[in-house]
Symmetry: C2
C-alpha cells in the first residue's frame, strides 16, 4: 500500500482524489500496489466529502508521518507550498505538483533537494495542464538541439483573443464573457497581464537550457492593450494575434525569454489554436518543429498529469527528472537585443513614420496608419517609437 497526502483540496486536489478513486484498478495494475489517500491538508473542512475523515489542518502531521510515500502539492502560490514541499523532500517523500508559481521560482532548489534525498520532484501538470509536454520535450532533448520552445500557455487569454477575433468584440467585453463562463477569475490580472504564462515559459526555458531564471526578470506583456482595431487589421492580413511565451537558445549559450502578444501568419501551426486550448511548439534539429496541443487547465486534465507523475514515482527507478535547473539569472539574454518585425498603428503621417523607422510596409491608411517595420532590435524600435511619442496607438511584435 502506497500512502499519499494531498496538499490543497480545491478543484485540482478533488480531481486527483476522484481520479485515484475512479481508476484505482488501473493505477494498481500499473504500480503493483494500492494507493491510499491518507491525508488531505486544507484550512477548510469537507464534511460532505467521502474524504472528510482524511482532512487535517496542520502540515506537521504529514511531515512527521514516515509512512507517507508521496505528497501531491496542489495548493498554488509559492508559500507555504515551497516550505511544505522542501520538508516533504527532506523526509524522503516524493513530491508532485501542478503549481507553476512554485516550480518557476523554486524548481532549482527542489530538484536539488529531491536528488539529494533520492526521491522525485515531478511537475508535468505545471505547464499545459493535461497535455504531455515536459516528458516529450525531455525525450526530444535527448538527441536534438533545441532552438526554441514557444507556446500559447494560458487558456484564459487565448479564449479572450479568440473571442475578439471571432466576434470583433473589445478586450473588455471579451474579458467579461470569459469571467461569466468561468474561464477568467474575478481578479484576472495573473492571466491577462501575462504573469501565468511567464511562470510557464520560465519552466520551459529551464527545461531546455538547464538554467533557472526568476520570472520577475523576464520581459512580460499581457493582452490588455490589444484593440479591436488591431484585431480587425490582423484578420484582414491573414494573421492571428496570440499571447506567446518564447524561450530561445542564443548562440552564446544564454537563453532569451519573453511573454508578449505576437502577430502570427494564419498558416503557422500556433495560429489555429483557439479558445481555452494551449499548445507548445518545439523547434529543434533534426526533428524540425513539433507541437503538443490540448486543454491547458481544468480538474480532469490537470489531475491526469498529476496522477501520471505519481505513477512514475513508483514505477521508475527512483530518481529526479533527467535534468536540473541551475539558478543563474545572468544566463538570461538581454531582451533589448531581441530582433523581430513590429506592427505599429499610429496617428502620425507616413513621412513622420519613415523618418523614425525608415522603409516600412504599410498595412492600412485612413483614420490611423498601420505598418510593419523591418527587422529591428527592441532597443532600435524603442528609440524610433519614442520619436513618435503618444502618436503610437498600438505595437505588436510579428512572429517571423
Amino acid at each position: 500500500m502506497k500512502h499519499i497526502a494531498i496538499l490543497g483540496f480545491g478543484v485540482v486536489g478533488q480531481g486527483v482524489a476522484d481520479l485515484l478513486t475512479k481508476n484505482a484498478k488501473e493505477v494498481k495494475a500499473l504500480i503493483g500496489d494500492d494507493v491510499n489517500i491518507k491525508y488531505i491538508l486544507d484550512l477548510r473542512d469537507f464534511p460532505d466529502s467521502p474524504f472528510a475523515d482524511r482532512v487535517v489542518h496542520d502540515f506537521n502531521v504529514i511531515k512527521a508521518d514516515d509512512g507517507v510515500d508521496a505528497v501531491i502539492e496542489v495548493m498554488g502560490g509559492s508559500h507555504p507550498a515551497f516550505e511544505f514541499s522542501m520538508d516533504a523532500l527532506r523526509g524522503k517523500k516524493h513530491v508532485i505538483t501542478s503549481n507553476k508559481q512554485v516550480v518557476a521560482e523554486f524548481g532549482a532548489e527542489m530538484l536539488a533537494e529531491a536528488k539529494k534525498n533520492g526521491v522525485c520532484y515531478h511537475f508535468e501538470a505545471s505547464v499545459g495542464g493535461g497535455i504531455p509536454v515536459l516528458m516529450p520535450i525531455i525525450e526530444i532533448l535527448r538527441h536534438n538541439k533545441v532552438r526554441e520552445v514557444r507556446g500559447i500557455l494560458n487558456g484564459t487569454t487565448n479564449y479572450i483573443l479568440t473571442k475578439m477575433f471571432t466576434f470583433g468584440d473589445t478586450f473588455e467585453d471579451s474579458l467579461k464573457d470569459a469571467q461569466a463562463k468561468g474561464y477568467a477569475e474575478r481578479n484576472p490580472d495573473a492571466d491577462i497581464l501575462g504573469i501565468d504564462a511567464c511562470r510557464k515559459i520560465a519552466i520551459l526555458g529551464g527545461l531546455i537550457s538547464g538554467v533557472s531564471v526568476m520570472p520577475d526578470l523576464i520581459h512580460t506583456e499581457g493582452i490588455t492593450a490589444i484593440r479591436a482595431e488591431d484585431v480587425a487589421l490582423a484578420n484582414q492580413n491573414a494573421c492571428a494575434i496570440k499571447l506567446l511565451g518564447r524561450a530561445i537558445t542564443e548562440a552564446d549559450g544564454r537563453i532569451m525569454l519573453m511573454v508578449a502578444p505576437f502577430l502570427i501568419d494564419a498558416d503557422a501551426p500556433l495560429s489555429g489554436v483557439n479558445g481555452v486550448y494551449n499548445a507548445v511548439e518545439v523547434i529543434a534539429d533534426p526533428v524540425d518543429n513539433v507541437m503538443f496541443y490540448g486543454r491547458g487547465a481544468g480538474a480532469g486534465p490537470t489531475a491526469s498529469a498529476v496522477v501520471g507523475d505519481l505513477c512514475r514515482c513508483f514505477t521508475e527507478a527512483t530518481h529526479t527528472a533527467p535534468f536540473a535547473f541551475e539558478k543563474k539569472s545572468e544566463m538570461l539574454a538581454d531582451f533589448s537585443a531581441f530582433t523581430c518585425r513590429h506592427y505599429v498603428a499610429t496617428s502620425a503621417c507616413l513621412c513622420e513614420v519613415k523618418k523614425a523607422f525608415g522603409e516600412v510596409t504599410v498595412l492600412s491608411e485612413g483614420k490611423e496608419l498601420a505598418f510593419l517595420t523591418g527587422e529591428m532590435t527592441e532597443k532600435a524600435f524603442a528609440d524610433a517609437a519614442a520619436t513618435l511619442g503618444d502618436k503610437v496607438l498600438s505595437h505588436i511584435r510579428k512572429l517571423a
Copy 2:
C-alpha cells in the same frame, strides 16, 4: 562501447548514421558509452560514404556477431525485415525500427519475442516520423480511458489535399505537383490509396487496445475519388477534407478501425494541419483531447525518433514497450455498424434523395445536388445509396 548494425542504408539509414556521428557527444552523455556503427547491411556498396568499410551484404554476419547490441531496421517492407528482426531478437539484440509495415503486420510476434529474450523492440518512428506519439500515448494510457485515437497519418495525401484546397487544383494535378516536389513516389499507390495510413492506424489501434489486427482487414479508402467540386463545396461550408485513420474503442471492448477521407469542421484541431505535416489526436478521460503535431517523414525527423528509441534501449532497465499486441482479428469491430453523417453529391433530384435517405441537409443545388445525411450506419447508407445507383457522384463521411 555499444555496437550497432543498421539494416538498410537509404534515406533514413543514412540519417541515423549522420545523427549518431554529429551528436556522438550528446548520445554518449546520455547512455554513458560510445555508439559504434559496426555494420551497415545493404545490397549496394557505398564507396564514397564515410561508412563504406562497415557495409556488408549478408545478414548472417550480423546475426552471428554476439558483440552487436542493437539492430536498427530501416529497410522497409515486411520481408526479410521480419525474419532479420526476429533473428536479432532471438540473439538478444535490441531492435529499433521505422518500418510501419512490419510493425503493423508482425508487431505482436516481435514484441513477444523481445519480451522472451529480455530485449527491446521499439518503433516510435513508425507513426508520425519524428513526432513523439507512441510514448506520450503510453503515458496518457497509464491512467486515462482512451475513447479514440485519430490522425492525419500520411504527409503525401495531406499535401495533395492541401494543394487542392488552396488552389482549387484537381487530384491529378496535385499528385503531379507532389511527385515533382519529391513528396510522392513515382508509384504513389501506398500513399494515395490509404495503405500507409492503414498500417499506422493498425499500430495505434494496437497501442490503445492491446489487440493487433492485420491491416488488410481494416476498411481503407484513399483520396483518389475526391473531386475539385467536393473541395469547393467543403470550402464554402467551412470544412476541410482530411484523410483520417481512426481507432475507436467500442463499448463491448472491440476496436473500430478505418482509414477514409472525412469532412472536418474548420474549428476542429485536425482541420488546420496542412501540407506534409502529420498530427495524431487522442481523446480520453479525463485528459480530454490532446494532439501531437509535426513532420511525419523525412530523414532528420525519422532519425531523431530512431536514435531516441536506441538511447532508451540503453538507459532504461531492459524491457520491451509497456504493452503487448495480441493478434486477435476477431476483436475488430464490424465496420458496417460504424455510424456518422455522410456528404453526398448526386445527379439525382431532391425527391429521389429524400426517398432514399429521408430528411437531408441540402448544401447546394445546381448542376448537381449536394447534401448531408443524418447519422446513419455504413450499412444503412450503402443500402440507401444503392437505390440511387450511379447517380451518386461523390461520398465523403463527416467527422462529428
